[in-house]
Symmetry: C2
């Protein structure tokens, strides 16, 4: 099927009418590939709306002193570039963590879509609010939780998102992140991330072999993630 992936995403939130699907399919969707570490940095200044079709990406902000804060991990079907609808200069830096495929939509065309199909606009608004809620959750975690709790929370969150794509995944999955990336997302040093992972492992909450992460005691891990 050649269906629009935007239709697929919006359809997850609410059933779409045939008309709406048809309208979404008229959108010119331009595919592009991005390779690991091949930062799609140039996308920063463009104001396109993307959907990630394959792979994992991050959005992050670079700070004055060169440190980085990862804002969000993007999984297939995630929308990228919504803030670009509000700002001339999209403030997001986008990077691919693995080989990725993205589909780009013209911003103006999306805006036109809203006129004929206001319900689609509402769904995009809903997506924006869902993302925002995820951000506030992270803000609370980073602001108030201990380093170990933040790492535990990120592991659980990642597992849940990986599982959302592949229902067959249980408590073992491949976390395709370096410890530095985990640190950039949770606001701590790579070295400290290492120590926290080690602690979680020594306490029997997780196990690690190669890049594979296994939740040995998910209940305890969950408890740990809500610690002060």
């Amino acid at each position: 099927m050649s269906g629009s992936c935007l239709a697929e995403r919006l359809g997850d939130l609410a059933p779409l009418t045939v008309n709406e699907v048809a309208a979404l399919e008229t959108l010119d969707q331009r595919e592009r590939a991005a390779t690991r570490r091949g930062v799609a940095a140039r996308e920063r200044s463009r104001r396109r709306l993307f959907i990630l079709k394959k792979g994992v990406m991050t959005t992050s902000a670079l700070l004055a002193d060169g440190s980085r804060q990862i804002m969000r991990f993007l999984f297939p079907n995630d929308l990228i570039g919504l803030p670009g609808l509000a700002y001339r200069e999209a403030p997001e830096t986008i990077a691919a963590l693995s080989d990725c495929t993205i589909a780009a939509f013209d911003r103006a065309a999306v805006a036109d879509l809203f006129v004929d199909h206001p319900r689609l606009a509402a769904l995009i608004l809903v997506i924006g609010q869902i993302e925002r809620t995820a951000l506030t959750d992270r803000l609370a975690a980073i602001g108030r939780a201990s380093a170990k709790a933040r790492v535990a929370a990120m592991l659980i969150d990642m597992r849940n998102r990986v599982r959302a794509m592949d229902k067959s995944i249980g408590d073992s999955f491949v976390l395709g992140l370096t410890q530095e990336e985990i640190g950039d997302a949770t606001g701590m040093t790579a070295v400290h991330v290492n120590r926290m992972l080690r602690q979680l492992e020594e306490e029997g909450l997780i196990a690690r072999e190669n890049g594979r992460m296994t939740f040995a005691n998910e209940r305890a891990l969950m408890r740990e993630s809500t610690h002060p």
Copy 2:
């Protein structure tokens, strides 16, 4: 004038047509008062869209251990409850820092509005993204900046927002926050907030008398706010 305050807010982003303004004015807007510390907590479960007309409020999340993370400070004309459009249970706890007046809109009526006036929907979407960008900025600050930098950044941000309401304000303003509230917003202890304020004062960046804050050296304060 009895004009809709929602029209006022949206009109700040882009000129509205007469039709759009008229449509906004048909919205039933129910005024309500909230007093300092009189947490509008019950609003948590309701799914209303509010506009703050007078006073200052906060949205915050309460964590498992009783600590609090302030997500956002709300000033007059700010929209409250957008996330409620996406979730049955709005995850925000709203509290009034001073005596406030709010205007409530029915969520369903707002949704109906989108059908006839898609451009208004787009503007609401823009507001959502602006708020979101503010959140990502705070996430980066809390995740990566030092305590002193976070306090400095918050002071500057607050001054800017106060000044946005009252152009006559220069580098001296009343910061109506306790040090504990500053701590809840920046992710640190009230005691440490105190020490950081003291340091900023001793370094000649700010001055304090009663509740009044004065930027003695705004340039240096700005520099401090972008520190690692």
